[in-house]
């Protein structure tokens, strides 16, 4: 049995991302204290942060707040507070943590979070988003706008769906003009879209480096570290600079042949969000086997760019609409996710798929048994299916999870050895 080895990625970008995230919270604190800059709550997946940037408004991401709490082992208290007012054990724990924090005045950094000037629900596939933001609007008394994004039934969105989203984006411009008292700055919007396109290109190049062996980073655990700046700074020059530095750092690792471990023994694709309350413990369960994620579906919640899609400053509204409709994993249909995983396995040369079922998120998890059936039987690729939660620490069975992970790698190791022998 290999020795347990704790790992954590410690590049300079790791430090830089912490600074950026702290700076973001400082701006939110400033908004809470002074009323400026204007703020809007919005969801990570398929969002239109470029439009906020055009008004100098700062996004509040309740999902980021919730995961920050969980990773710091502080999520249970707010979850229980929400359950006290009627939320069920089976409601999404992100929502419960967020609502509980509001009720108890808890924030991830201890600073203040502003009352959003606008609760902007970008409804992309996740029905929980709509409920969540309705509740937020009721609790805070803030204005709610639900930007309804038709679900992607076919491979590409229909023209009617694109027109529908563009019309809503233009309604949103008027609403933001009223809320902020500023006139819409089209040039600033185009510039934000240009920054997004550049960040997407850099992020895509980083992800493609994981096709090499060894991969210079873990495309699940390390990708999550990079996802904070990706969401908060995508539409800004700071985001561009951060991801330029990240790409350079990764290239340096490639040049020196440096992987995540001294030897990369297994290459994995991981499906589903991580168990944030046990993030480190969970990571170490894979590190023990020198198993590196080379691709993950969760890292495409914010956007799916590794297959070529980008925002387009020449068609800013349409490209924001397309991003919302078709270039994020949550608004794509379930079979498209199967196809995404298939491409990862084949093009990123993976040995197996880990499916992490999280009880909070039915969008991700409902039907993962069928996904497993497809990957195992149709593609002939080994899979491991484990269950816990992304926010609620009560659903992580450490010993059982460890046993299942160990058993999976033992079997995989054995089949690799016997394959070599033949």
């Amino acid at each position: 049995m290999p020795e347990v080895k704790q790992t954590e990625y410690r590049g300079s970008i790791h430090q830089r991302q912490k600074e950026l995230m702290l700076k973001w919270y400082e701006r939110l604190n400033e908004a809470a204290e002074t009323g400026t800059p204007p703020t809007a709550s919005l969801m990570i997946s398929g969002n239109c942060v470029e439009l906020l940037e055009a008004f100098g408004a700062v996004p509040i991401y309740p999902e980021v707040n919730a995961l920050q709490l969980a990773i710091r082992h502080q999520s249970l208290e707010p979850i229980l507070a929400a359950e006290e007012i009627g939320y069920a054990p089976d409601n999404c724990a992100y929502v419960k943590a967020d609502i509980g924090c509001y009720l108890k005045g808890i924030t991830p950094t201890g600073g203040k979070l502003p009352k959003p000037d606008l609760v902007l629900c970008n409804f992309v596939g996740c029905n929980t988003y709509v409920k969540w933001f309705e509740h937020t609007a009721v609790l805070t008394g803030s204005k709610l706008y639900v930007l309804d994004v038709p679900f992607l039934c076919e491979d590409e969105p229909t023209q009617a769906a694109i027109d529908y989203v563009v019309r809503q984006l233009k309604e949103l411009v008027t609403l933001l003009e009223n809320i902020t008292g500023k006139k819409f700055d089209y040039d600033r919007f185009t510039e934000a879209v240009r920054c997004s396109a550049e960040v997407e290109e850099l992020w895509s190049q980083i992800k493609h480096l994981a096709r090499r062996s060894p991969s210079p980073f873990d495309a699940y655990f390390d990708a999550i570290t990079l996802m904070g700046p990706l969401y908060v700074y995508r539409a800004t020059q700071e985001g561009v600079e951060f991801f330029r530095a990240a790409l350079e750092e990764m290239w340096a690792k490639v040049a020196s042949g440096q992987g995540v471990y001294d030897q990369e023994k297994f290459r994995l694709v991981i499906e589903g969000p991580p168990p944030y309350p046990y993030f480190r413990t969970f990571r170490d369960m894979f590190a023990k086997w020198k198993a590196c994620a080379v691709a993950s579906t969760y890292s495409t919640v914010g956007g799916l760019w590794e297959f070529g899609a980008r925002h387009d400053p020449d068609h800013p509204f349409e490209s924001v609409a397309l991003h919302m409709l078709s270039q994020n994993v949550t608004n794509r249909n379930y079979l498209q996710r199967y196809e995404q995983i298939k491409r990862y396995i084949e093009e990123w040369n993976a040995d197996g798929l880990i499916i992490h079922f999280v009880k909070s998120c039915r969008l991700f998890s409902a039907g993962q048994g069928d996904m497993r059936d497809y990957v195992t039987k149709t593609l002939g690729v080994p899979t491991l299916y484990i269950e816990s939660d992304l926010e609620d620490p009560r659903y992580f069975a450490e010993a059982q999870t460890r046993n299942r992970i160990d058993a999976f790698f033992e079997t995989l190791e054995h089949s690799k050895l016997t394959a070599k022998a033949v």
Binding site: A88, N127, K131, E134, C153, T158, A160, S365, E387
Partner: protein, 384 residues
């Protein structure tokens, strides 16, 4: 037919996993197609106008053992998702040529695509019903979604949908919804004459038969009910909320009534009475259906309209039906219902309406604990 026999007969047909009444329709209409729709709402008028039989699906009830679907959907997923897939995997859905899903929840959405993979010969489609009714664009979008559906139905063997055929279908369904509203009005007025489980069976029967026949059944039943004697019971008046998708076992509905409740309003099979008023029968029937969804629909946990919040809708329903209390009947793992419970509860507490929460599964056989809970709740109100 005598009313009691009608109820008994339909009680049995609703539990039939083989869809015998639908099979019989298909045998009588060679070449005609059957389109099922997963709850909660689908524009059945369009399916009817294409010469097809729309059939409302309601899960597997309590007669289906799950052998395969648990492994496909795992823990924490509601029963109707699994029983619907199980029915497909066990060949109970062979009579269907297509099945429609819509944007009601994440589990149902994923089920649509799992069905698509497992049953490649079945036409499986997903309708995006809009969640931003305050936008002027939502009616246009939904109309285009309905036109896409029409094209698909024509492609799989439906006859051409004409303005006239759709206008006729709208008129038939308007009449159907009027009759259901009359049935509910009668129940709210004389709950001792028509029990909730009886009205439930009558309404849900419409899921399995052509609307013309359902209209005749409802008309005949309403006529007979006008003459039906009934002895008032000592019961409290209760509105049921939360059972809009997966349906509770019939025995559970009966039990709640026997435990001392008149169910004066509910959201069972709510897709059958989806509009508060008639859909206009005007020159552009596709637009009329879309516009009605956006502006004329009942409140529901799967339809989001912040212009008229659902909790205000529930408060109004309580007032209109002169209810003493609200009974939340929520399917286990039904996330939309769980979420709405919080804001419904908040509103009811503001206006001083007592409420009780009960969870159910479509396949449930022991009700002792539920009976005790309901009886205690009723007693607490009667002797308060």
């Amino acid at each position: 037919m005598e009313l009691e026999r009608t109820f008994d007969q339909w009680q049995e047909r609703l539990a039939d996993l083989g869809f015998a009444s639908v099979q019989a329709w298909k045998a009588q209409h060679p070449g005609a197609r059957v389109i099922g729709y997963f709850p909660v709402y689908a524009p059945a008028e369009i399916i009817h106008a294409a010469g097809m039989l729309p059939v409302g699906l309601s899960g597997g009830g309590d007669r289906l053992d799950i052998q395969h679907a648990d492994a496909r959907f795992g823990s924490f997923i509601c029963s109707i998702i699994k029983t619907t897939l199980e029915m497909g995997l066990r060949d109970h859905l062979k009579v269907f040529d297509g099945i429609l899903f819509s944007s009601i929840c994440d589990s149902a959405r994923n089920l649509c695509f799992v069905m698509k993979r497992n049953f490649p010969d079945l036409y499986t489609d997903f309708l995006h019903l809009p969640h931003n009714p305050s936008s002027t664009a939502s009616v246009d979008f939904l109309a285009s979604e309905y036109r896409r559906l029409i094209q698909e139905l024509e492609r799989i063997g439906g006859r051409a949908v004409t303005e006239t055929s759709l206008q006729n279908a709208i008129a038939l369904y308007n009449h159907n919804r009027q009759l259901i509203r009359s049935l509910y009005a009668l129940r709210a007025q004389k709950p001792h004459v028509l029990r909730a489980w009886e009205s439930y069976v009558l309404v849900r029967a419409g899921n399995l038969m052509p609307v013309e026949e359902h209209n005749a059944l409802l008309e005949e039943s309403l006529e007979q009910l006008a003459q039906r004697p009934g002895k008032p019971r000592d019961s409290i008046r209760v509105v049921v909320e939360g059972a809009f998708c997966e349906q509770p076992p019939l025995d559970l509905i009966k039990l709640v009534e026997d435990a001392g409740c008149y169910l004066v309003d509910d959201d069972f099979v709510i897709g059958r009475s989806w509009f508060t008023d008639d859909v206009p029968v005007d020159a552009d029937p596709v637009h009329a259906l879309a516009e009605s969804y956006v502006n004329r629909a009942v409140y529901s946990s799967v339809r989001h309209d912040f212009r008229a919040p659902r909790w205000e809708g529930l408060a109004e329903k309580v007032k209109q039906s002169r209810a003493d209390a609200v009974l939340f009947l929520i399917a286990k793992f039904c996330e939309p219902a769980y979420f709405d419970y919080v804001l419904f509860k908040k509103k009811l507490e503001e206006i001083g309406v007592p409420h009780l929460l009960l969870e159910f599964e479509e396949k449930q056989f022991t009700f002792d604990r539920v009976r005790t809970e309901v009886e205690t709740f009723v007693e607490s109100l009667v002797f308060d």
